[in-house]
Amino acid sequence: MNLTLYVWRQKDAKDSGGFEKYTDECKDISEHMSFLELLDVVNERLIEKGKMPIAFDSDCREGICGTCSMVINGRPHGPWKKTTACQLHMRAFKDGDVIYIEPWRAKSFPVLQDLMVDRKALDDIVQAGGYISTNCGSAPDANSVQIGKEIADAAMDAAACIGCGACVAACPNASAMLFTAAKISHMNTLPQGKPEAGKRTLDMVNAMDQAGFGNCSNHLECEAACPKDIKATVIAEMNRAYAKASLTKR
């Protein structure tokens, strides 16, 4: 298929950037390619012409690392539900389609180059409380801590977050609440995380606010965009936990 791409090009963090149109570079695209392979092909053709290739992040290319951040035609990771950009295939498009590709847009995610943004702010949130304090040493006996299936399932659902930042990108307010709440739920739900639940919730929410993300207006665009299908119910859990911790933690 032949496509027209409009890709956000920006030399570095200081450059003001703009859209660049590509047509010659995206001819004869196979529907079996992944979206990132489309960009690989476009880049090879750009290099042949002596032009700068498009900078974009990718790593695993199998939907588990969360690096492949880009907004494709107005949706983070493109049109397919529960799918990262690397797992999106060109059969999602048809001959003659016009595709806009933009970086995540948020004050807390400065653009480094083209489609690459700095997601350090998410690391800061995790560093503030995404851990449990425990003594090292030999592993405890298996099953010495009993965890019911419902609790294990809830924790696993939250732990599925790959930290890609699509929730921030999709949110009209650029809020990181789905990410932060998923991390908090993941740990607060399990017995190992309970002792530090209050402090963790306060610290992680404060780190999120410090980073300059927006607030939640309950639009639920984050839930729709999440490639791992994390539900916004984790945000409600965080809201409750934050009030409880504020009112009771000294």
Binding site: G74, A106, K107, D209, G214, T233, A236, S246
Partner: protein
């Protein structure tokens, strides 16, 4: 108290202020509507209700104080959050596709602004007795009571007044259809067993408020409820 300041300034705490003040306002809107619907019971009933309300004295002032506080907190938080939210995305997208947000959720601020404008007019007309319909405010009934019945009916006979009232109620309905469901999420009140009901609560209460409040101007314009003076 430093923990309290920190709490209400945080992103989550600010939403709690929004939700609690919103809840107080919803409570008022429902109670106010139920009281006013007595207009269908006739002049005697609603005028007696008005006297009863005024006789609450101190309690009425406490309720009014709480209401004013809720309005101020709600408006202040709405402005503060809206500013923070737009600052969080300085560069906008060229293309945006929405999936789960609604017209209501995206227009909360605008709905709120329409409600404020309406509120100014509404208070001027019916509580303070100013504005374009001043003569109706001084009516008294045969027992010497403030004639709320005829004041309201004569007010609604003015098509412009009724129309602006209905437009404001549409804005309120849209605001509440998202707001009431949203406040449960903001306060963290969710449970798989009740989430379906919570999702319905917003649209249901919003529709109830729309029908209840608009029934009054419509009944007057249609001539089902008539002035007695």
């Amino acid at each position: 108290m430093s923990w309290f300041g920190k709490y209400i300034r945080s992103s989550v705490g600010a939403k709690h202020l929004m939700a609690i003040s919103g809840l107080m306002l919803v409570g008022f809107v429902l109670a106010h509507m139920l009281g006013n619907l007595q207009i269908f019971k006739g002049q005697a009933a609603i005028n007696a209700y008005a006297v009863q309300l005024k006789s609450l004295g101190g309690l009425l002032w406490i309720m009014r104080g709480g209401l004013v506080l809720a309005v101020l907190v709600h408006i202040f938080s709405a402005i503060r959050l809206s500013m923070l939210n737009s600052a969080a995305r300085p560069v906008k997208y060229k293309k945006v596709k929405t999936d789960k947000s609604s017209f209501a959720s995206r227009t909360m601020l605008w709905g709120g602004i329409i409600i404020v404008l309406f509120l100014v007019f509404h208070l001027a007309q019916l509580t303070l007795g100013g504005g374009p319909l001043q003569e109706n405010f001084n009516l008294v009934d045969e027992f010497g009571r403030h004639d709320v019945y005829n004041m309201t009916v004569l007010g609604f006979k003015n098509v412009a007044v009724s129309a602006s009232y209905i437009v404001a109620m549409l804005a309120l309905c849209i605001h509440l259809s998202h707001g009431v469901t949203s406040l449960f999420q903001s306060l963290g009140l969710n449970h798989p067993k009740y989430n379906g009901m919570i999702a319905m609560a917003g649209p249901a209460i919003a529709t109830l408020v729309l029908i209840g409040n608009c029934s009054m101007p419509i009944a007057v314009l249609a001539g089902w409820v008539k002035a007695t003076v």
